[in-house]
Amino acid sequence: MADSGKLLSQLADRISYLIDIKGSSAWINLKELQDRVQGLRHSLFEIKEADLYNEIDRIEDRVSFMEDRVAKKLSPAEIVNIVRSVQRFTLIDILENVYDSYTELGGEGECNLDPAVVVARATISRRVKNKLYSHQVMVIGHEKGRGEEYRNGGCAKPWGNDKALRYMMVAETEGIPIHFFIFTPGSYPVEDYPGAAQQIARNIYVMARLRVPMVSFISEGGSGGAEAIGLSDFRLMGSRGYYSVISPEGAAAIEGKIREGEKVPKDLIEHCATQLKITASDNLKLGTIDRIVEEPPLGAKREDYAFFRRLRYEMLRATDEIVLKTKNFRAFRAYALRRQTEEGKNVPEDFDVAISWNLTELEIDRLLELRSKKYREMGKDFFLKKSKGLAQRFRRAKDLASRGYYELRYGLLRPHHRNVQKVIEEVSSEGSVFFKKVTEPVRAAYDFVFPQPKRPAKVVSSEGSDRRSIFAEEWEPYLSPLANEDRTVTCPNASKYGCMDLWVPDLYGEFCGVCPNCGHHFPLEYQWYLKNLFDKDSVREFNNHIASSNPLGFRGFDARLRRDIRRTGRMSSIITFDARVFGIRLVVAMLFSNFRGGTVGAAEGEKFVRACDIAKTTRRPFLAYVHTTGGIRIQEGTLGVVQMPKCTLAVREYIESGGLYIVVYDNNSYAGPVASFLGCSLYQFGIRSSRIGFAGPRVIRETTGRNVPPGYHSAKNALRRGHIQGIWDRREFRKNLYDALMTMGGHNLYYR
């Protein structure tokens, strides 16, 4: 009887798991089966034992049949349900079953800075020819279960991500590999310090050059939240996990233009889940993950010990592979590892090789090189190149020539020139001191005999005399087409500050779109900045041939893309160009609103990375001006998400080589780009009346249940939170940019 109770309880769990997967008990007769099991559990002692077991067998057969049927045809939406089921394994299960021992760091359970992020020092071991080898690792991940009420469903708060970052650096100090486990539907979208977006950006920026091997395993990879601990040298994914740019519900709400509070149709959610290509096999095809870890057909649960064994094996193997790639002599061990992989699907009892995870400095450099290469390659095949063969060859030749020229000028000649200058400076200083010692007594005697009236010292400008006035207007300013309308508009602050109505030709002409009373900035088109911010005729665009596409074949997106290309005459939402500001040459990447709301996809990411590289080659400062960005383009799925680490890596390499990277936000800047390659800048500024943040008010309300006050994302609040370093007036953008370049770059601009 005791056994029958246990069997019934297991059956109830299996049925409820099927209900979780199908989303309701209405599928076939799950409800009836559930009722039958419940009935048996209540009348356990009233039925004859033989009858009871017969009935249990019948139900079990039925449940097994249903499980097979569900497993045969799992839709992406059902995979999402598997991942969200309470019966799915969590990080604590992994720590207990994959690792030999672990110590949780940064608090335990609910007494934790952010219980959604768990950090632990752990040991993982392998057996090679009956000998046990242990490795120390840092485990960082999200915990969804085991106290769901305080874990926030695995949504890391900014301070949780900060904790993760702190322990990543501990791992770097100690030189031990990091294993990341991603179980998050997304980051908790609050702007409180350190700020969701800014903290994720900081994490990615540090991970880009973290000097230890990193492996990540994705079970539930929800966009930015996943990337906060997702940049790694090897990315594994559970076969029943999902990795997506946005939750299918969120995508459905956007696609279906569902208003707040209204229910999103289930069909639309399923459609979006399919279109977003969120499954492990889809992600493997797109190249956003490296390998799939096989799970049982309906996903691994908390007691799937065979799966944990496999996971342990895969984590060891992935770390081995990363380490081996950095070694000069690896042929035999790599062969052994490969052979082991090819042996079959079963997890071997013993490892063929024991590989030490300690790396020398040279090997670490190689590790970073490989990491950079890996992310730079991501998404490279998923944008269009609209140029003819001849033009392409000409461009390549030009690139090569300019690279050679700048390498010669700055790489070879500049250091020598500087060294010679330094020697001359020092010799002349020494000489002047020596000469002074010799002549001083004679001069003193002369002054005593023939006293001279004292003259004020001459002022010597360190900036040079040829600096032009930064207030001078050098050409006829560009006039916004918005000014060609004979009407008035009301300032949104009129009730607060009593602003008068503004006549449109004045507002968009003389006033540059700024209310003269309260200083509110009305949005202006990006062309205004192109014409008024930079020196006349100094803008030279490059990489115009890189065009956005529809890599996932998202239904209906091709037409929208074509419409935007026709409307704007541009191929992507980013413009990259060389320009000058008061004679200072710089490289600029400008995200603008008219093309898909300034969203970032594979083409935009590639153009940004190339602009970074050009700035690095030509030794020029790099400005990212964000006219507007709505985040990562959801129609490109995870190909868009991987642009976050890809661009941040390029930025990090540029800054480390001595470059100056400045970000200026205007209008609306939200989500992925702010949480990566924009938010990681050391110098960020906002144009007045702009809004900067991670998620908009509606998303915050829907995910956290908290209302946000008006002005929550305003530049002023971003400044208060320390997310930006200053607020600029549009009319003084040019002057402020020049000042910033001179102040932060110094006289010898940008290259140490």
Binding site: E485, D486, R487, T488, V489, T490, D501, W503, N707, P709, P710
Partner: protein, 215 residues
């Protein structure tokens, strides 16, 4: 003080409505969006971020401006002759008849009856430590205040200045701010009720709270 509470009560009983006149902010052609007798709602939301009911639209120089109500109540005095016509600035286009609720009447009575200590300038204000401690222990207790007592601390530019009470002695009846809040200049901080009026004021307030509708 010369204030008769019975007169005050009588006044509010006979004037339970307040009429707010809605004027045009500037010239323009107006078009009404409400009708006489229609109930309108004022701004709502935690920060009053949701505007109230749309009253009318005024258009000047192709600038269509929506005008919302700032009060709850009923629309009265709509002028149909103005519909679709040009109006001057400051023209009364309608009125909102707002029915005072219990709390509004209590607030109005208390403002007239209590000695109100107002913020001398915009700063961060704290209750003095002994008052704060007493209220912390017994939030409902009535603390006696004498002239010369330092009852509030104004914190501005890293300098704390004690503010003394200068009116007739009484008991602390109402605190209008939260300790540590930034209060604008002129806003009420504390309401002190003269001792001789205390019981009467309490009775009146209690009566309004319990059966104002039946009074």
């Amino acid at each position: 003080m010369g204030i008769n509470l019975n007169d005050l009560l009588r006044h509010y009983r006979s004037h339970i409505f307040e009429d707010y006149q809605v004027e045009t902010p500037h010239t323009g052609v107006i078009s009404y969006k409400v009708q006489d007798g229609q109930t309108v709602e004022g701004p709502s939301g935690e920060w009053l971020q949701r505007p109230g009911t749309l009253l009318y639209i005024i258009e000047r120089e192709k600038n269509v401006k929506k005008m919302y109500t700032s009060w709850n109540g009923q629309v009265t005095g709509i002028r149909p002759d103005l519909e679709g016509h040009f109006v001057e600035a400051g023209e009364v286009v309608l009125s909102i008849r707002h029915r005072l609720d219990k709390n509004e009447i209590i607030d109005r009575i208390l403002t007239q009856v209590l000695n109100i200590l107002r913020a001398p300038q915009q700063a961060r204000y704290f209750l003095s430590s002994d008052i704060s401690a007493k209220l912390g222990k017994h939030p409902e207790c009535r603390i006696a205040i004498e002239p010369g007592d330092e009852i509030v601390i104004m914190s501005l530019m890293k300098r704390d200045t004690a503010i003394s009470y200068k009116e007739a002695s009484g008991v602390l009846y109402k605190v209008y701010f939260r300790s540590g809040d930034i209060v604008e200049q002129g806003s009420p901080l504390l309401g002190i009720c003269p001792s001789d009026r205390l019981q009467y004021v309490q009775e009146v307030v209690q009566r309004i709270r319990t059966d104002w509708e039946n009074m």
